[in-house]
Amino acid sequence: MPLADARAICPDLATRPADLPREAAALATLRRWAGRYAPMVATDGADGLIADISGVAHLFGGEEDLRADLQARLDRAGLAAVSAIAGTRGAASALARHGGGIVPDGALVQGIGRLPVAALRIDHATAEALARVGLARIADLAGLPRAPLARRFGPGLVLRLDQALGAQAEPVAAEPEPPHFGVRMTLPEPIGLQADVMAGLARLLDRLCAKLALHHRGARRLRLELRRVDSGTAEVEIGLARPMRDAARIAALFARGVDEIDAGFGIDALRLTAPVTEPMAPEQTGGATIRHEDALADLLSSVGNRIGFDRVLRLLPAESLIPERSFLLAPAAYSAPSAPPPRSGPPRPVTLFPPEPVSHASGHPPATFRWRRMRFSTLRATGPERIAPEWWFDDPAWRSGLRDYWRIETQQGPRLWLFHTPQNPGWCVQGEFA
C-alpha cells in the first residue's frame, strides 16, 4: 500500500523511514542469541531466523516447551515474533509467516496445506498465475502431477513445493561467525607496576597479533581495558597510522598511555581489543624499503597518538583552479600519497595564505603599494591571469567576484602573488613565490 493511501485511511499514522543496516545488525544480534537453541542458526530473508533443531528439542522438554520458552524470552525482551516448528525448512518458513505453530512429524501436507501458495517463497507473478487457475492453497498443489506444473509454471515452483514437503533437501547454512579480535587475562594477584602492566600487555599482544595474522588482518585501533580491584576501569586507546600486527612495535605506542593511568589499589584483569581492523595481506619481512615504510608509519602513529591523527596531514592534488582548493589536506594515516599533475600554465607561489589587502596601491598593476606595514615598489609585473569563482560553491572569500592574478617582483626582493578584483576594485596579496 502506498504511503499516501495509508495516510488517507488513517490520518494520524506515524511513519518512520526504514533503517535497513540497523535492522540487519539487530537481526544479527538476535541470531547470535538464538544460538542457545541450536548449533546452526541462519538468517532467513531480511526478517527471519531459521534454526536446525534436529536432536535438540528434548533438552528443552519437547518441541512445545522449546517454542514456549523461546516465545516467553522474546516477549520479555519486548520483541513481537512468530515462531513455527516443522519438519522442513520451507514448511517452517511458510508457517512462521502465516500464524506460526508446530507441524507434527509426518503431517507436513496437513500442517501447511491450508496456507496460500504465496507462502511457498515463490515470486508474485507465479502466485498470481496459480490463483488464476484456481490453485489458491498448498494442499491444491500437493496432489497434482509435477511434470505439468513444472512445464506451466517453471521449475522454481516445483522446487519450492518439494522443499516445503520434504522431497528436496534444504539444509540450514549458518554463516561463519566473524572473528572477534579481543583477548583477556585475569591475574591471581593485583599488579601496580608499569613494567608488570607492559609485560601483561606483551603477552596479550602476542595472542592478538597471532589471531590477526591468522585472519590476514591488521589493527587500526587498539583498546586496552584495565580492571582495578575496586571494580573501576582504566582505558588506554591508541590509533595506528596503517594496519599493523607487529607486537613489539604496537607495545611501544602503548607506553605513553600506560604511563598515565591510575592503578589505584592494583589491577587484576587486562582486556585488549581491536575495535577497528583492516585487511592486511601477509608480507615479506625485511628489506630496506619495507623497514623504511614501517619506520615512517611508526613515526606517524606516535605523533598522531599525541597530537591527533587529524593534524598529521598530507597534500593531495585536487581538481580545481581556485588556489585555495587546488590541493587537499588529507590525514596521512587514511590516504595514500599521489603525485601532483605536472606543472603547466602560469607559475604558482610556494606559500599560500588568506588574502591580505594592500593599501596605498597606485596604478594598475600597482607601481607602489604597502603591505604588512612595508613599502614595496614594483620592478616587474607578469599577468594578468583571470580566475573566475566556482559559482556552484558559495565561498565567502570569493564573493568579491573575478580575480586577476599578477606575479609582482618588487624592488625590495619579495616576489608576491597579488590579485585585483575588477568587480569590487581592490588589490590583495595571496602568496609568495620562491
Partner: protein, 195 residues
C-alpha cells in the same frame, strides 16, 4: 643520505645536525634544501599558521614526499620535531617554532638529530634561534635585473665548524638545480700576471 664531502657544495647542510634559517626567504631556502634531500619530508608548522605550502608551486617530486604536522602548542611542536628527528627514514625535518628556542631545546634537538642521523631545519623569527645550532642562514629574496632569474641572497651568518660566507643563488623553484651568481666585489689579491 650519506655525507659526501666531495659532493658537498657551500649550500649543503651538514647531515645529522639541526640548522636554522631566518629572514623573509626562509621558506624558499627550506624548499631548496628539501629538494636536495631524498626521502620523506616532515614539515611541522603551528595549527594556526596562515601560511601553507601550496602543492602546485612546490619543486618537482616534493609534493608526494611531504608530510605536514600541525600541532596545537609550542610544546607539542618541539616534541614532534624531536620525534621526527629521531626517526631514521626521514630525509629532512622542517619546523617553524613560534617562540625563541632555548639552549636546552636546541641541544635536545641536536642530540635527537644525531640519534636519528637526520638533518633538521628550523625556520625561526628574527633572532629567535638557539646557540646550539650548527649553521644559521639569513635568507632574503633579491630583486634581479634580468627577467629570467630569481635571485636569492643566502648568507651563512653562523657556522660551528667552518666558515661563514654569503652566496647569491639563482634558483627558480622548480627543481633542485641552481646557479651560484658570482658577486661583483673588490678583489683581495692582485690578479695573476699573464704568462
Amino acid at each position: 643520505m650519506r655525507f659526501d664531502p666531495a659532493n658537498a657544495d657551500a649550500l649543503t647542510l651538514a647531515p645529522a645536525r639541526v640548522h636554522e634559517a631566518m629572514g623573509r626567504g626562509r621558506r624558499a631556502f627550506a624548499l631548496f634544501q628539501a629538494a636536495r634531500h631524498p626521502g620523506p619530508l616532515i614539515w611541522i608548522l603551528p595549527a594556526h599558521a596562515p601560511e601553507m605550502p601550496m602543492l602546485a608551486g612546490l619543486p618537482r617530486g616534493l609534493g608526494e614526499r611531504l608530510h605536514l604536522l600541525r600541532p596545537a602548542g609550542e610544546t607539542d611542536l618541539l616534541w614532534c620535531v624531536e620525534e621526527a628527528l629521531r626517526a631514521a627514514p626521514v630525509g629532512l625535518v622542517i619546523a617553524e617554532p613560534e617562540k625563541p628556542l632555548s639552549l636546552t631545546a636546541g641541544r635536545r634537538l641536536q642530540l635527537a638529530a644525531e640519534a636519528g642521523r637526520t638533518a633538521g631545519l628550523m625556520l625561526i623569527r628574527e633572532d629567535a634561534g638557539s646557540n646550539a645550532t650548527q649553521t644559521r642562514w639569513l635568507c632574503e629574496p633579491q630583486a634581479s635585473p634580468d627577467p629570467d632569474s630569481t635571485l636569492h641572497r643566502w648568507p651563512r651568518i653562523k657556522n660551528k665548524s667552518g666558515t661563514c660566507g654569503s652566496w647569491i643563488v639563482n634558483w627558480h623553484g622548480a627543481t633542485a638545480a641552481f646557479h651560484l651568481v658570482p658577486e661583483a666585489g673588490e678583489r683581495q689579491q692582485p690578479a695573476e700576471p699573464p704568462r
